[in-house]
């Protein structure tokens, strides 16, 4: 009996490998979409309401906009972060360590590179959708709809891809799930607070403004605001470029980290 007719060489990135991982996520999503949707939308909405009305009573306008609208557009980035970096960190670690899902996937014709990419694409898509929620809520508080707002889910997708890869990378390098506290306290919280979400960065000292430009979340905030307020300009292309670079670099690092973890 001939064992096997030699197949043609398989490619490095294959649609069917990505589809397999994505189908697994989509089918699983059908069993937990309620809780995921709840946490990804309610949390930023609470920020929006608390800051919008809490500070809004002290500060009427920021940068020429109603403070509620300023925060409503800013918290899109918060929603993107919360629905990408966090699920990616915890989800990846759980699937690797506790459910051993990745053992099963890598025993199928799927490589680590494809696995990480498909997971990041899925997280990006969720982030793009969930990211729009605060903006939609803000519309109930007087934010006028504009055609440019259709760019917002794409911005959320792009930023969500980078933050999703960031979460996967952190899970790949972390020795235990407790290590996540360092990343949350030392990296995510400062980046989240100094992104221009709740206050504009242009009143901060010069060095803080420069640092802000290195914060991918800040670019996400600005892109969303410029779309929502109809202010898109050339500088936004640079911001998109920054998010693309962020996504690509962290994507490769995420693959590297998971490769080290999954293949010995």
């Amino acid at each position: 009996m001939a064992v096997v007719a030699r197949q043609e060489r398989l490619h490095r990135f294959e649609r069917s490998a990505l589809a397999g991982v994505l189908v697994r996520e989509v089918v699983n999503f059908s069993s937990y979409w309620r809780s995921a949707t709840f946490s990804s939308t309610v949390e930023p909405t609470i920020y929006l309401l608390a800051f919008g009305f809490g500070f809004g009573s002290l500060v009427a306008k920021v940068g020429g906009y109603d403070y509620v609208q300023f925060v409503g557009t800013g918290t899109v980035a918060t929603a993107v972060l919360f629905s990408s970096a966090f699920p990616a960190m915890f989800g990846t670690f759980v699937k690797y360590q506790f459910q051993r899902t990745y053992d099963a996937i890598l025993a199928a014709p799927v490589d680590t590179e494809e696995l990480v990419t498909a997971e990041a694409l899925w997280i990006a898509t969720r982030a793009g959708v969930y990211g729009c929620v605060p903006m939609i809520v803000a519309m109930f508080f007087g934010l006028d709809p504009r055609w440019e707002m259709l760019v917002v889910p794409l911005v959320g997708w792009l930023a969500g891809f980078g933050w999703g890869c960031f979460g996967i990378m952190v899970a790949g390098f972390a020795k235990s799930i407790e290590n996540f506290s360092y990343i949350v306290s030392a990296v995510l919280t400062p980046l989240f607070l100094v992104a221009g979400t709740f206050f504009p960065l242009n009143r901060l000292p010069r060095w803080a403004q420069v640092l802000g430009e290195a914060n991918p979340l800040h670019h996400c905030v600005q892109l969303v605001r410029d779309s929502a307020f109809g202010m898109l300009g050339w500088i936004d292309l640079l911001r998109v470029g920054a998010l693309v670079v962020f996504g690509l670099v962290i994507w490769r690092l995420g693959i590297f980290a998971m490769q080290r973890k999954l293949i010995d």
Binding site: Q7, L10, A107, I263, D264
Partner: protein
């Protein structure tokens, strides 16, 4: 000459100072069932991981279904079914959803997906449980699903890593029937186990591993005859008596092994001078003789 589904030559895998696999040769002819038998820590699981490209050998040659590992591992994995030792089903999904996901991961063509799922359900005898969530299945059902999941794409070669570990005897028999059916359909099987009865019942060839090496290979009955003879004499007694029996047997050039409560004198067919119970030699005698009485 029959073709080899798996061919390992001089394979070495080190973790730091420790060689988990240390110069291993394995040949699995297509269409046969080979049992990888060895105590915990003998290198069985590491060997299994190298066959799926999840562990990369430091030295040696590995070929799976004619594909060189790890370079062509993806081609090999497309034709390979793997049942892991630890259950990694998606527990919040139904039986059918678990199978559906794997028809995608294993690239079953769209128009064959439904049929592949039905075939797997029938094989695992879970047809009436298709809509049950996995976390509501019994241990035996989960295990059957885990095996069926690895068969959705009709693999040429199936790797079973400790398929019945930790299960009741009844469930174990159920799974043996399933594996035997696969074997009779001509699927090549490599099964790691530390249950001797499992290897004896299912495997055409047994490969005994110890400290990362193959210490013996052959059909179970031949291994028994070669290493333990036809008959074994079990001598019971106190510790000093047992030690004495061991000395006497060694002086006559006979091998012995401790069973815990007795000393078994191997190849004792025509030997007399010892008081004890005669019984046919078995694979367990060979296993303990070759892998050592103490497990480090």
């Amino acid at each position: 000459m029959s073709e080899l589904a798996i061919r390992l030559r001089g394979v070495v895998k080190r973790y730091g100072q420790i060689s988990a696999v240390d110069g291993l040769d394995v040949s699995v002819p297509a269409g046969t069932c080979v049992g990888l038998l060895g105590p915990n820590g003998a290198g069985k699981s590491t060997t299994m991981r190298m066959l799926t490209g999840q562990s990369i050998a430091d030295e040696g040659e590995l070929e799976v279904l004619g594909f060189r590992m790890p370079d062509e591992s993806k081609q090999a994995r497309a034709l390979l079914g793997v049942t892991p030792q630890l259950d990694n089903l998606d527990v919040t999904l139904t039986v059918e959803q678990n199978l559906l996901v794997f028809t995608y991961l294993y690239r079953v063509p769209r128009r064959e997906r439904k049929e592949a799922i039905e075939r797997s359900l029938e094989l695992a005898r879970l047809g009436d449980r298709r809509d049950t969530r996995v976390d509501r299945l019994s241990g035996g059902m989960r295990r059957r699903l885990l095996i069926a999941r690895s068969l959705v794409h009709r693999p040429r070669l199936v790797l079973l890593d400790e398929p019945t570990v930790g299960l009741d005897p009844q469930i174990r028999q159920e799974l043996w029937a399933l594996i035997d059916r696969l074997r009779s359909e001509g699927t090549t099987i490599l099964m790691s186990t530390h249950y001797i009865e499992e290897a004896q019942r299912l495997a055409d060839t047994v490969l005994i591993m110890s400290h990362g090496k193959a210490v013996a290979a052959g059909p179970p009955a031949e291994l028994v005859t070669e290493h333990a003879g036809d008959e074994v004499l079990e001598v019971y007694g106190g510790p000093s008596r047992l030690a004495e029996v061991e000395r006497e047997a060694a002086a006559r050039g006979l091998s012995t092994r401790r069973t815990g409560t007795s000393v078994a004198v191997l190849g004792a067919g025509s030997v007399d001078g010892f008081e004890g119970e005669r019984r046919p030699a078995n694979l367990e005698d060979v296993f303990v003789l070759l892998t050592g009485e103490e497990i480090g």
